[in-house]
């Protein structure tokens, strides 16, 4: 229980400011999603869990 199917992850770039440290663009169950870097966000928590487990890598921003 509790796993989420994340197939890709990349830091997102704010096209206005160029900031790359606020959001991660991921694909979950085939749907693109912008995930806030907030430990209380369940998607971010799961991304960090999978990164720590070595099953997911977050790509650098374009």
């Amino acid at each position: 229980m509790n796993e989420i199917n994340i197939t890709s992850a990349q830091y997102a770039t704010d096209p206005l400011t160029g900031d790359t440290g606020k959001l991660i663009k991921v694909t979950i169950d085939g749907t693109e999603m912008w995930v806030s870097i907030d430990l209380a966000n369940r998607h971010y928590a799961e991304i960090m869990r999978q990164v720590a487990a070595g099953t997911l890598t977050i790509e650098d921003a374009d």
């Binding site: 229980m1 997102a12 900031d19 606020k22 995930v35 209380a40 369940r42 971010y44």
Partner: protein, 348 residues
């Protein structure tokens, strides 16, 4: 006990107060994500605040239904309909309905310390399948779990189920915006998650070996409404809240803007920045969300072929709409085509 004494006891326990139900959307009225979910993905949501665990060799559909117990003020229920049978649930498999109560709301129970309060769980349920089902309460670390068996004795008949669960004086129960407690109704449950009923277990268990297998036949269905969790020892009548009140509570966890809301083509935001192919702006959410949410959606207005966000907080978000193929984005407000939507997910 006289009625006066009963009332005095209820007032003393706090049960006679309003706003006593810890379950949000217990009457199943709010459905921002939609009203039908065919074999939902494991660890996802259906009707607002109604979480689904679904890992098995069968399949089921979850819908918002109008079948309700008569004379109780309900007009919606949640329905589970088995569409592919799984006659033998493997050890690690399951099918459940649950609600995760936020820690900031769960703290009223005083769990994890002496004086932890008892709760009364009540709901209306109906199924063609009679027998023993299991209800569980777990903490966020899933190392404290209480299992309560309940029975549906009459096929295809609404029954009001109620039982008491003693407060847990041990364990760690979050008092933050994380998961305070997880209330779960098992429909099918593999042996990995079997434990002992009527006591606090120190492991991740949610049902007993007596649990029926809802997925045993495509004839099976299960309806539920009027889900209530309150402090005390006696179940009180279901606390009906207004739709707007319940919607606002739900929006702390999930928020969807539809392009086909009335009036048509709603204006989501006015741009603060715009050029020939890009414009961005911001808008505030109607309530503070539980956490900075995740964003998904589709925006196609003005030939936009890309949209996204550069910043999201619990209070609102910046959003941009872009056309990489043609320079048709103008400086007008971002309105929506009927198929467009934006969703913000801050669920537990």
């Amino acid at each position: 006990m006289s009625k006066a004494a009963e009332l005095a006891a209820l007032i003393g326990s706090g049960q006679a107060q309003g706003d006593r139900n810890l379950i949000i959307n217990g009457a199943m009225n709010v459905a921002q994500r939609g009203t039908s979910f065919a074999d939902p993905t494991d660890n996802t949501y259906s009707l607002d605040r109604m979480h689904i665990f679904n890992d098995n060799d069968g399949a089921f559909t979850v819908t918002q239904d109008t079948t309700v117990p008569s004379g109780e003020g309900f007009y919606k229920s949640i329905k589970f309909d088995c569409t592919t049978a799984d006659g033998t649930i493997a050890a690690g498999q399951y099918a459940t309905l649950s609600q995760r109560i936020e820690g900031l709301n769960n703290t009223v129970l005083g769990y994890g310390a002496s004086g932890a309060k008892s709760i009364v769980v009540s709901f209306y349920a109906k199924s063609n399948l009679t027998g023993t089902f299991c209800y569980s309460v777990r903490n966020s670390a899933t190392n404290r779990a209480y299992i309560k068996e309940f029975s549906l004795s009459s096929a295809n008949t609404w029954e009001r189920i109620s039982f008491t669960i003693t407060g847990d004086t041990s364990g760690t129960w979050l008092a933050t915006n994380g998961i305070g407690s997880n209330h779960q109704i098992s429909l099918s449950m593999g042996s990995t998650y079997h434990g002992t009923a009527n006591q606090w277990n120190s492991s991740n268990v949610v049902a007993t070996s007596n649990q029926v297998n809802f997925l045993s036949s495509t004839d099976n269905n299960f309806f539920l409404t009027g889900w209530q969790v309150e402090i005390g020892d006696v179940a009180t009548p279901f606390e009906h809240r207004s739709y707007s009140d319940e919607l606002a509570r739900c929006r702390r966890y999930f928020l969807r803007y539809y392009g086909n809301d009335s009036p048509a083509y709603p204006r989501w935001f006015n741009p603060a920045y715009a050029n020939d192919s890009y414009m961005g702006g911001s808008f505030s959410f109607p309530v503070q969300m539980r956490a900075a949410p995740s964003l998904t959606g589709t925006v196609t207005y003005q030939n936009a072929d890309n949209f996204g966000t550069g910043s999201v907080s619990r209070e609102g978000m910046a959003i941009y709409v872009q056309s990489t193929s043609s320079a048709v984005i103008c400086g007008a407000s971002v309105t929506a085509n009927s198929s467009d939507h934006i969703t913000l997910d801050a669920e537990l």
